[in-house]
C-alpha cells in the first residue's frame, strides 16, 4: 500500500471523553419533568391473557398511568412487522411485556409494577425448531397473513414459518452423482445474547409543535426514525432521533428496539418525557437476542478434491418475533457455503417462530453460525479424501473474476484474496507442525483453521450521504449518519478527510453526538458497511469540496481549474507554491482585492448507493446481493483438558484480505471479535427450563469471556488487497473478525482428540457427551490416570 500521511496509521481515536468520564450515553440523558416507565413481563412462555388487574397499581403514590396491549392495537417491525407494543390477547414468550407503568419516580413505577395482577390460561409452548414444524404444532402467530412484510420475505401463514428462502444453483442431482465422497452432518447453535454493557434505554418526548424526540441506545439513528414514523404513522420530518455514544451494539441495537414504547407513552401523557431503562435481567428478557440454529448439511467432493454439490436445510429458531431474523434467514440462505466455488447447490433456509425471547441481528448476521457448520464439512471431506484440509480449501477457494457466487453472479475481479488469507493464517499458526504434547497425559493440543467471507445484507438501495463543511479557521466538520458504538468508523473517516485535504487530523471533527435532523442520511450502521458506504459518500463530498476550492483559486489566480492542485489544506497553482489560498481564507467564500466576495461558504456533498446490487429471484435466489465481500481466515491452537473437560485457546490468528484505514482500530476489532467468538464457542447459551423460562438472565450464569479467559497469544494481519471502489480499498472488518472461531476451535478439537463438535457451546458437559458418543475409549484411558495407574 502506498504510504500516506494519515491513512493506514494508528492515530488515536478522537472520543477521548470516554477516558475522562464525560462521554454521554443514552443512559446518562435526563430531561426536566421526566417520568419513569416500567414493564411487567409475562410469567408464561405461551398463554392467553384472561384478565389484567392494575387497580392496586394505580393507587401507588406517584403513579400516573398503566398501559396494556389493548391501548396500542397495531404492530411494529422492519422486515416482518410481527411485534405487538405490549402483548395483545396472548403472551408469546416468558418475560413478554404485558403492561407498562408510568410514574414520577422509578421506585413508584417499580412498586406499582409488582402490584399488577395478570390471569393467564396457559397454552402449550413451542420450544424447539422440530416442534414448531410439526404439522399439529400450536400456531404462535395466528394471523400472520395480516402482517406487513418487506417484499423479499416469504412467510407461510397457517404454520410457524416466518420466512422461507430457496437457493438453487446448477443441478444438485448431477452434482452428487459426480461426487466420490459425501459428508452428511447436523450442527446446532443455541440462542445467545449480545451482552453489550449498556443495557437498552430510551427516552422520548413530544413537543407542542408535534415533534417527537427520542434519545436511545441504538446503532442506526435513521432506521429508528424511519421505523418509528412508519409504525406509528408519524410524519418522518417530525421525528428526531438523537444519537449519543452507545455502550456496545453488536447487532443487538440495529433497527427499532423498544423506542416506540416511551414514544407512545409520552404521546398519551401530553408529551411529557418518559424514560424506559431496562435493568440487566430485563435486558435479557425483553430485548431481542440472537437466534438459535440447526443446519442439516450434505456436501460432496470428487476424488481429486473438487467440491461438486451441497445440499442444505438451514433452520433459524427466531423466537416469538422474527421481525429482523427473517433477513438473517435470507443471509445464510443466499451465502450458504464458505468462500469456495460450489457449482451445484440446493439450500432451503427456514426461519421459524418459537415461544422464546424475540431475536435480531448479531455481529456476523448468521455467517459465524453457517461457517461453524460448513467449515467442519470441509474438514470432514478432507479426512475422507485423505487430503490436507488447507489444500482442500485452497483448491476450491473463490477466485475473483472467475468463480460464481452461490447466487450465480460472477465474483468481481477486485473482490479480494481468499486464498491469500488461508495461506497466511496457516503460516502464522504453524500449519503442518504437530503442536507440542503437554506433559500431562490428559491434555491434548490441536490446531484448526476456518475460512470465511461476508458482505452486508442490505436492501439494494441502501443509501449513504456525507457533508463536509469548512469552518473559518480552516478546520472541517464532517456530517455522516453512521452510529458510533465503539467501532470507531467515524474516526477512520476523519483520517480520510485529513489525507484528502492535507490538513492535520486534529482539524477534522466528526461529532459523535448527532441528531437525524442535523446530519447526513445513512440507511443503518450494520453489516460492517459504514466505512465502505459512508466512505464512498465522503470521497464524493471531498471531490465536490476540492472542485469548489479549485474553482475559487482558478478565478483568483486567473488560470484554468485543472491548473490548481489541492495540498496541505490549500488550493495552489501547480508549480507555483506561492500562489495559494488556504481553506481558512475561502471557508466563507473569498473576497477579491476590490471587495467583491465570491462563492460563499464551502460545503462539499456526496452520496452513495450500491448501484450494482439487485433483488434476488424468489425461486432460485439468483442475483447480486452485496456491494463487497471481505475474505478472511482464522486459525487456532487449542488445548483440551480431559480431566476438567475444558478447552483453552492458546493462540488465535486472524487474517483479513482488506487494507485498513487505522490499524489500531482494526486490531481492536480483531481482538474483540476473537474473544467474543471464543466466548460464544465455549460458554454462551440462553438456557431455558422445560416450560420456557429463562434460567440465566445475569452475568453469573450467562458467562462472557473475562480478561483471564483470553488466548495466550492473539495475532491479526490485514493483507492490503483492496476493492477499487472502496475508500482507499478498505472493506468492512467489524463482523468479519468474529466469524471463524467456533469452526476453527471445533476443527482444532478434532485435530487434538478426534472428536467432532456438532453443538455449541463447547461446555464441559457438551464435550463429555461428544466424547462418550464418538471416542469413549478416551475416558477409559483417563480412568487409568485417575485411579493412580501411573
Amino acid at each position: 500500500m502506498k504510504a500516506y500521511k494519515y491513512v493506514g496509521k494508528p492515530i488515536p481515536r478522537q472520543d477521548v471523553s470516554k477516558v475522562f468520564g464525560d462521554a454521554i450515553y443514552a443512559y446518562d440523558v435526563k430531561l426536566p419533568g421526566m417520568l419513569y416507565a416500567k414493564l411487567v413481563g409475562s410469567t408464561y412462555a405461551h398463554a392467553r391473557i384472561k384478565r389484567i388487574d392494575y387497580s392496586k397499581a394505580l393507587k401507588v403514590p406517584g403513579v400516573i398511568k398503566v398501559f396494556t396491549g389493548e391501548d396500542f392495537p397495531f404492530k411494529v417491525g422492519i422486515y416482518a412487522a410481527d411485534r405487538d407494543v405490549l402483548a395483545r390477547g396472548k403472551v408469546l414468550y416468558y418475560g413478554h411485556p404485558v403492561a407498562g407503568v408510568v410514574a414520577e419516580t422509578p421506585e413508584a413505577a417499580e412498586e406499582a409494577a409488582e402490584l399488577i395482577e395478570v390471569e393467564y390460561e396457559p397454552l402449550e409452548p413451542v420450544l424447539t425448531i422440530e416442534d414448531a414444524l410439526r404439522p399439529d404444532a400450536p400456531l404462535i402467530h395466528e394471523h400472520m397473513e395480516e402482517y406487513r412484510h418487506a417484499s423479499f420475505i416469504y412467510p407461510r401463514p397457517g404454520t410457524n414459518i416466518a420466512n422461507y428462502l430457496k437457493l438453487r444453483k446448477g443441478d444438485i442431482k448431477k452434482g452428487f452423482e459426480e461426487a466420490d465422497v459425501v459428508v452428511e452432518s447436523e450442527y446446532r447453535e443455541p440462542l445467545i445474547s449480545h451482552a453489550y454493557m449498556e443495557n437498552w434505554v430510551g427516552i422520548a418526548r413530544v413537543l407542542s409543535d408535534g415533534t417527537v424526540e427520542v434519545w436511545s441506545s441504538h446503532q442506526s439513528p435513521f432506521a429508528v426514525r424511519h421505523l418509528l414514523a412508519a409504525s406509528l404513522g408519524l410524519p418522518i420530518g417530525k421525528v428526531v432521533v438523537h444519537h449519543t455514544f452507545v455502550g456496545g451494539g453488536f447487532g443487538g441495537k440495529a433497527g427499532l428496539l423498544l423506542e416506540h414504547i416511551p414514544v407512545l407513552f409520552s404521546m398519551k401523557l401530553g408529551g411529557r418525557p418518559v424514560r424506559l431503562e431496562l435493568n440487566r435481567e430485563e435486558n435479557f428478557l425483553f430485548m431481542a437476542q440472537r437466534a438459535g440454529y440447526l443446519f442439516k448439511m450434505k456436501t460432496g467432493a470428487t476424488k481429486d478434491g473438487r467440491l461438486v454439490a451441497h445440499y442444505g436445510e438451514y433452520y433459524l429458531d427466531a423466537g416469538a418475533y422474527a421481525d429482523y431474523t427473517v433477513n438473517i434467514g435470507r443471509s445464510v440462505g443466499f451465502v450458504p457455503t464458505g468462500p469456495y466455488e460450489v457449482p451445484n447447490i440446493h439450500v432451503d433456509s427456514i426461519t421459524v417462530y418459537t415461544n422464546k425471547v424475540p431475536t435480531t441481528a448479531f455481529r456476523g448476521f448468521g455467517m459465524q453460525e453457517m461457517h461453524f457448520a460448513f467449515e467442519q464439512q470441509i474438514d470432514q471431506l478432507a479426512e475422507k479424501l485423505g487430503m490436507d484440509p488447507l489444500e482442500l480449501r485452497l483448491k476450491n477457494a473463490i477466485v475473483p473474476g472467475k468463480s460464481y457466487l452461490p447466487t450465480q453472479v460472477r465474483v468481481r475481479e477486485d473482490a479480494g484474496d481468499p486464498a491469500g488469507t488461508m495461506k497466511r493464517a496457516a503460516e502464522l499458526i504453524g500449519w503442518g507442525k504437530k503442536p507440542e504434547k503437554p506433559d500431562e497425559p490428559w491434555k491434548f493440543r490441536g490446531i484448526g483453521i476456518a475460512s470465511f467471507w461476508k458482505g452486508p445484507v442490505q436492501p439494494s438501495n441502501a443509501a449513504s450521504s456525507a457533508i463536509v463543511k469548512v469552518n473559518e479557521d480552516g478546520s472541517v466538520d464532517v456530517l455522516v449518519g453512521t452510529g458510533e458504538m465503539g467501532q470507531g468508523t467515524i474516526y477512520a473517516l476523519a483520517q480520510i478527510v485529513a489525507e484528502e485535504l492535507g490538513i492535520p487530523v486534529e482539524k477534522v471533527r466528526v461529532a459523535p453526538i448527532r441528531s437525524t435532523d442535523s446530519v447526513a442520511y445513512t440507511w443503518q450502521t450494520v453489516g460492517s458497511r459504514g466505512l465502505f458506504s459512508e466512505g464512498q459518500a465522503l470521497m464524493r463530498a471531498l471531490d465536490d469540496l476540492k472542485n469548489q476550492m479549485r474553482e475559487i483559486a482558478a478565478r483568483v489566480f486567473n488560470v484554468f481549474k485543472d491548473e490548481i492542485e489541492i495540498k496541505d489544506g490549500k488550493a495552489c497553482v501547480k508549480g507555483k507554491p506561492w500562489e495559494c489560498i488556504s481553506l481558512a481564507e475561502m471557508a466563507l467564500g473569498y473576497t477579491l482585492p476590490n471587495g467583491n466576495a465570491i462563492h460563499g461558504p464551502l460545503i462539499g456533498r456526496g452520496s452513495h448507493v450500491p448501484s450494482q446490487t439487485t433483488y434476488l429471484d424468489p425461486e432460485t435466489g439468483r442475483g447480486e446481493p452485496k456491494p463487497f465481500m471481505t475474505f478472511g481466515t482464522g486459525a487456532v491452537e487449542v488445548e483440551v483438558d480431559l480431566l476438567n473437560m475444558r478447552v483453552r485457546v492458546l493462540k488465535a490468528v486472524t487474517v483479513l484480505d482488506t487494507p485498513v484505514i487505522n490499524p489500531g482500530l482494526a486490531l481492536g476489532q480483531a481482538y474483540g471479535g476473537a474473544v467474543m467468538g471464543i466466548s460464544i464457542a465455549l460458554n454462551e447459551e440462553l438456557k431455558l427450563t422445560k416450560d420456557g423460562r429463562l434460567l440465566n438472565p445475569n452475568f453469573t450464569d450467562y458467562k462472557v469471556a473475562r480478561a483471564g479467559d483470553i488466548p495466550v497469544e492473539m495475532v491479526a494481519e490485514f493483507l492490503g488487497v483492496g476493492q477499487k471502489n472502496a475508500p482507499y480499498g478498505a472493506k468492512g472488518v467489524g463482523e468479519l473478525t468474529m466469524l471463524a472461531w467456533p469452526a476453527a476451535i471445533a476443527n482444532a478439537i478434532y485435530n487434538a482428540i478426534g472428536v467432532r463438535i456438532r453443538k455449541l457451546p463447547i461446555t464441559p458437559d457438551n464435550l463429555l457427551e461428544a466424547i462418550k458418543e464418538q471416542r469413549p475409549e478416551l475416558l477409559k484411558e483417563l480412568d487409568k490416570y485417575l485411579l493412580g495407574g501411573e
Binding site: R13, V19, Y25, G248, G668, V675, V704, I710
Partner: protein
C-alpha cells in the same frame, strides 16, 4: 416515605454532606448527589464491574456499597485523575494504545488500571488479568487494555 440519613463523603478531593436513604447505593449517590457521570451501572449485582471506583484506596463495586457504609469515605473516580488537557498516565496510555471502544466499561478499567499502576507496579500479566477479571468488557477482547496498563506502568516509571 423512607427515613433518610446524612453522610459525609470526599469525592475526588471535594468533601460534601448529603442526605440519602439508608438503602441507597453508593453508585446512585455518586451519580445523583455528586454529579459523577463516569460511574455506570451494568448489572447492579456485583457481576459486571462497570461501576468500579476506588474507595479508601481499594477497588470497590459501587453498586454493592450502601450509602451508610460509605460514610466518611474517600472516593476516587476518573473525574479525579486529571485536569482538562492534562491526562494522567493511565488515561494517556488508554488513548495511545486503543484501550477502549464503546467506552461504557472504560471508567471502570481506568480505575483498575490506576490502582494497579499505583499499588502493583511490578505486576505480571497474570496478576493484571486477575484484577481485571472483575470487570467485563464486551468490545475490546482485553488485549489492548492490558497493553495500555503495561504502557502506563512504564510511563509512570519514566516520570
Amino acid at each position: 416515605m423512607a427515613e433518610t440519613i446524612t453522610i459525609r463523603l470526599k469525592v475526588n478531593g471535594v468533601e460534601k454532606e448529603v442526605t440519602v436513604k439508608p438503602n441507597e447505593r453508593l453508585l446512585d449517590v455518586l451519580r445523583e448527589k455528586f454529579y459523577i457521570n463516569s460511574v455506570k451501572a451494568g448489572c447492579l449485582r456485583g457481576e459486571c464491574g462497570i461501576c468500579t471506583v476506588i474507595m479508601n484506596g481499594k477497588l470497590v463495586k459501587s453498586c454493592l456499597v450502601l450509602a451508610p457504609e460509605a460514610d466518611g469515605a474517600e472516593i476516587l473516580t476518573v473525574e479525579g485523575l486529571s485536569r482538562p488537557g492534562k491526562p494522567s498516565v493511565v488515561q494517556r496510555a488508554f488513548i495511545e494504545k486503543f484501550g477502549f471502544q464503546c467506552g461504557f466499561c472504560t471508567p471502570a478499567f481506568i480505575m483498575a488500571a490506576y490502582w494497579i499502576v499505583e499499588n502493583m507496579p511490578d505486576a505480571s500479566e497474570k496478576e493484571i488479568k486477575e484484577i481485571l477479571n472483575s470487570v467485563i468488557c464486551r468490545c475490546t477482547g482485553y488485549k489492548q487494555i492490558i497493553e495500555a496498563i503495561k504502557y502506563a506502568i512504564e510511563l509512570k516509571k519514566q516520570a
